[in-house]
Amino acid sequence: MKASLTMLVRQQLGCLERILRVVRHRGFTINDLSVTPDALANHYVMTLSVESSRGINLLTNQLVKLFEVEELTLDSGQKVKGVNYAKSA
């Protein structure tokens, strides 16, 4: 299973490590990754393409629990947390 997702991440010490750790630990490999500071100060926009034998919900359900992850949108447009970033941007 392959999926892409976009997250709006509050810039806080360790936030990127925290996210990448969850991705690895929950059994997903990263095919592509980009991180750009958002126009809004103190945020990153993080886009991830991942692959796993597990369902993507197992990852997104864990990612949305991270306090720094303010919005999470799947490439299908499905918003998993927060306001739909793709639309509001």
Binding site: L13, G14, L58, N61, V64, K65
Partner: protein, 564 residues
């Protein structure tokens, strides 16, 4: 006011009365601030003891437990305790000193990247970069630890930040009580979810409640009990769920690897499994695809990530268990539900429970640990706390003790941390100074945090230690016997010290029993002590825990004791 003074004042203002810790270079300013504080600091003799004592304090009371350590080895020694709290969803705040900001990243003396090392075992963590961030960080950390699904939170504070003047020295008590608040989880149970649950119940012939630790954490035990009483649905419980159902007659006991036969049979047979705050842990489910094979699943949980993680739920009810159960109870009563459909099933479950009740008769003159533990449970008052370590004795406690509420049973479930019991008992005794607190431990586990006997003595904590000595790492021996063809490897502890003299050297009163005839008298002696005490119980070194579901097998394939 400096950062350290602010921290200590903020903890105090937020109702923290007890801290478990150990001083050192990078945390000295905080220890200096503690000199002027009302907070009682408990000097544990190892930071692991401090972290596990904070866990025991929190687990037994529902309040936030706080531990504190210096940088480097002090901080790394906390990690096992944080993992323990993380895996069992216990609210713990850990505060660590760090080398001065400018030295971070230079491999300075006693510098470890504790933030980086603990990501996997905390709910949230902070490295403070500016003293003026402290107020917000402390408030947020305390709220996060207790809210929703609780867990450990770490604040790492560099030494210069501890000493810097803080510009806003006003300590603002946050409005959180540092106990669970029902309203903390945003999502509320929807009409549709409740309707679906009721529809499933209306069709079920063999419903079964599967009760986990989440019920007690959410303080939803009375709501659960009223649901069970009014529905007369049988219940099974996880290790952490023990006690949630009180003395409900259709409670079949613990399920899983060392579960009761009636409980495991019921899971195999049920056609509707209602999970209240459990997480389909492998020790509970056995081979997952053969767990509740005929059942549809309803899953009540506060953590969205638990629903559909391991077993698909027909309906997931996400939200605080107390409010979810209240909603369920209301709707259930309004419907005046007819449970005649499952009366035959409930009766069958009850018959299984009776038919497979424990037998405590054992030929011979030696002490039979299950009987001893059961006698302990019957002799001690109903609101005694029992903490255990990890191994066979832990399973005997789970099998043979009755708990009136979950919080009386302090057991390291998710992590299985040997050495948990003594520090946890210390934490529980400090949270409940007048309660009876008993630590049931094995000879292997006892040695893991034996240094905390000094803590017992120093603070005159009347913890009662029941040491079950089988001269071996019993649980590992049992597995080597059953699954490694009796090839015993590093499990022999027959050169144990004289535990009575060890205890006495630490200032405890101690006594030894080794005969069946002494079981009751020994326990009576232990329970009567009002200072720290140890009863050394010599048990058969070949005794095993039964029944047992082999790893990877289905819960219906329980191995039983072969009578000699």
């Amino acid at each position: 006011m400096n950062g350290s003074q602010y921290l200590v004042n903020a903890l105090e203002a937020n109702g923290i009365k007890t801290l478990f810790g150990y001083p050192g270079g990078a945390i000295m300013p905080v220890y200096d601030a503690l000199v002027d504080s009302e907070i009682e600091h408990i000097l544990c003799r190892h930071e692991q003891g401090a972290a596990l004592a904070a866990d025991g304090y929190a687990r037994s009371s529902g309040k936030l437990g706080v531990c504190i350590a210096t940088s480097g080895p002090g901080a790394t020694n906390l990690i096992t305790g944080l993992a323990n709290a993380y895996l069992d969803s216990i609210p713990v705040l850990a505060i660590t000193g760090q080398v001065a900001s400018g030295l971070i990243g230079t491999d300075a003396f006693q510098e470890v990247d504790i933030l980086g090392m603990t990501f996997a075992v905390v709910k949230q963590s902070y490295l403070v970069e500016d003293v003026n961030d402290l107020p917000a960080i402390i408030n947020e950390a305390m709220s996060i630890a207790v809210e929703g699904r609780p867990g450990p939170v770490l604040i790492d504070i560099p030494k210069d930040i501890q000493l810097n003047r803080i510009q806003t020295p006003v300590v603002q008590p946050s409005n959180v009580s540092h106990q669970q608040s029902i309203h903390s989880t945003a999502s509320q149970v929807s009409e549709l979810e409740v309707k679906t649950v009721l529809e499933l119940l209306a069709k079920a012939h063999r419903p079964l409640a599967y009760v986990g630790g989440g019920v007690g954490i959410a303080e939803a035990e009375s709501e659960l009990r009223s649901f069970l009483q009014s529905s007369q649905i049988p219940a099974v419980s996880t290790l952490k769920g023990l006690g949630a159902t009180g003395n409900y007659h259709l409670n079949l006991g613990m399920l899983g690897m060392h579960g009761l036969k009636a409980a495991n049979f019921a899971v195999q047979e049920c056609d509707l499994l209602i999970n209240f705050g459990a997480r389909f842990d492998d020790r509970a489910t056995g081979k997952l695809n053969q767990f509740a094979p005929n059942a549809q699943v309803i899953h009540f949980d506060t953590d969205v990530a638990e629903v559909n993680k391991l077993k698909a739920a027909y309906v997931g009810v996400i939200g605080h268990l107390k409010s979810s159960l209240e909603r369920l109870n209301q709707s259930f009563h309004q419907m005046q539900f007819d449970n005649a459909r499952w009366i035959a099933w409930s009766n069958w479950c009850y018959e299984q429970k009776e038919a497979h009740a424990w037998q405590y008769e054992k030929p011979g003159d030696v002490i039979y640990a299950p009987r001893l533990i059961n006698t302990l449970s019957n002799m001690s008052c109903s609101n005694a706390f029992i903490s255990c370590d990890v191994g066979q004795h832990q399973m005997w406690v789970a099998q043979h003790c009755q708990f009136e509420q979950q919080r009386f049973h302090l057991s390291s479930g998710g992590a299985g941390t040997m050495g948990y019991g003594l520090p946890a008992a210390i934490g529980a005794q400090l949270a409940h100074p007048n309660a009876v607190v008993i630590n049931v431990c094995g000879d292997g586990s006892f040695a893991m945090n034996i240094q905390e006997l000094m803590t017992l003595k120093r603070y005159s904590l009347p913890v009662k230690i029941l040491l079950l000595d089988n001269s071996s790492l019993g649980m590992v021996r049992q597995w080597q016997h059953l699954f490694f063809k009796d090839r015993y490897s590093e499990i022999d502890l027959s050169d144990n010290p004289d535990f009575v003299r060890v205890a006495e050297a630490f200032g405890l009163v101690a006594k030894r029993i080794n005969k069946k005839a002494d079981e009751k008298e020994g326990l009576r002696w232990l329970l009567q002590q009002d200072s720290p005490a140890l009863l050394h119980v010599v048990i058969d070194s070949c005794e095993n825990v039964w029944p047992l579901v082999p790893p990877g097998a289905s819960n219906c394939d329980m191995l039983e004791e072969k009578l000699k």
